[in-house]
Symmetry: C2
Subunit: 263 residues, 2 copies
């Protein structure tokens, strides 16, 4: 059975997060950067909106018992919440979540770990919100029109922009850092919808170039807000091999485990 | 706290495994392929040999208690053991482990999960061994000679070949599948040491091209030996979104969780 060795970074979101385990995705980059320090847990669920994510999220978290059993579970040291791309589907879509409900759902996800009364309250969890990327409706529309049977475009540039704004507002209300993917990609393509194909493979999903920006944005948040949490500042759980050879006691007894993250 | 949602694939090894979280590495590819099905836990420790890995491994596994507490820990459904590259260091190196000790240590790692008397016995764990890659001593020697101060080459082609053979023998003894990295890379470069730079970045560490072969080799083992464990055969833990919308009861109550992997 997999024992508790490292705390975790949990990534909760939709297909944009799920796909972030691909080469060059921000989940992959985090895994590499935090190797031997934190495990990266991808809880991205393609197609999901915030309404469906709430019951999933509560299952992904261990409930606090207030007993020593709590110590059996890795702490979520960093949590990214990246939603909006599906909630912003137009009203005819079953994925659509009204804007006000989206903001409330996102608020519920945040309070799951930040409200002291929550069964999942985790004061140590660093929460970062991400805004949905802007939609390239030409690309997305062409993609859906080419399907069998053809489908009408299910997103709208302006609507998704409003959902991105809602994320910023939830962030401001909770004083949480926001990686503003919407603005980064919009500005990065010169504010021309047709040029969003620089970052979006199909008008909706972020490619490796976008993920590089997203990862850098997240690293910037960490460096500014929680510098002690930067990958280069965290100790390895098991010591580097050159420490093992210069410290025979490490070699003889069961190897030292850095406990600082647990406390 | 991170709750038990998915079982895991654990990768135990040295820097070759640690580096497999990089883009194109076999850890990254597994994470992507098993998204929403299994978490990939990279327990690669740069520089480590089997002697140092044994105490680490026992800490990475939860001890069996025979009580319901065992159900709190994710099962290790697949375990890769990839050692030999450091054990095969020449005798003057502190990383050197004699060949017979290497085989015995690898045997100890296997028995940790497969011996019924072990505190970590896990009859469900699929164990796969990997052989160390062949060494390009020209590349490795040039790399070490260029350091300050210059160092003599610490590996030998023929010695590492013997350690690869020892892995095959441990695999045969336990009837475990072996992904024979040594042979794949050796044959892939036309059996010319100088041409190993096709797969090795510095004479020792595998590049993305090698990792593609390693991943394919692992997938072949899974398809042949445990076809039910192929990524496309395993159910998602949380249902696909189009199942959520066609089954209103899924949406209303806490979402269904696929329990088959737990039983």
């Amino acid at each position: 059975m997999n024992g508790y060795v490292q705390d975790v970074i949990m990534l909760l979101g939709d297909s944009l997060t799920q796909g972030a385990s691909d080469a060059g995705g921000f989940a992959q980059k985090l895994s590499y950067a935090y190797n031997r320090k934190l495990d990266v847990v991808n809880r991205g669920l393609s197609g999901y909106n915030t309404k469906w994510a709430i019951p999933v999220f509560t299952q992904c978290l261990a409930r606090r018992t207030g007993t020593h059993a709590d110590g059996l579970f890795p702490k979520v040291q960093l949590l990214t919440l990246w939603f909006g791309a599906n909630d912003a589907c137009l009203e005819h879509s079953p994925q659509h979540v009204p804007l006000a409900d989206f903001a409330e759902n996102l608020d519920t996800l945040v309070r799951a770990v930040r409200a002291p009364g929550s069964a999942h309250y985790a004061p140590w969890t660093r929460v970062v919100l991400l805004t949905p990327p802007p939609v390239n409706t030409r690309q997305r529309g062409a993609d859906l029109a080419a399907r069998d049977p053809p489908r009408a475009c299910d997103r709208d540039f302006e609507v998704t922009r409003q959902y991105a704004q809602a994320v910023r507002e939830v962030g401001a209300r909770h004083r949480l850092p926001v990686v503003d993917v919407w603005t980064m990609l919009w500005e990065g393509c010169g504010k021309e919808e047709a040029k969003l194909d620089k970052y979006l493979s199909d008008g909706l999903h972020t490619n490796a170039e976008a993920h590089a920006l997203i990862y850098d944005g997240l690293m910037k948040v960490i460096a500014e807000r929680w510098p002690e949490f930067s990958p280069e500042r965290l100790p390895m759980v098991f010591p580097p091999w050159d420490q093992v050879i210069t410290n025979p006691s490490l070699e003889k007894r069961v190897l030292f485990k850095e406990a600082s993250l647990r406390d």
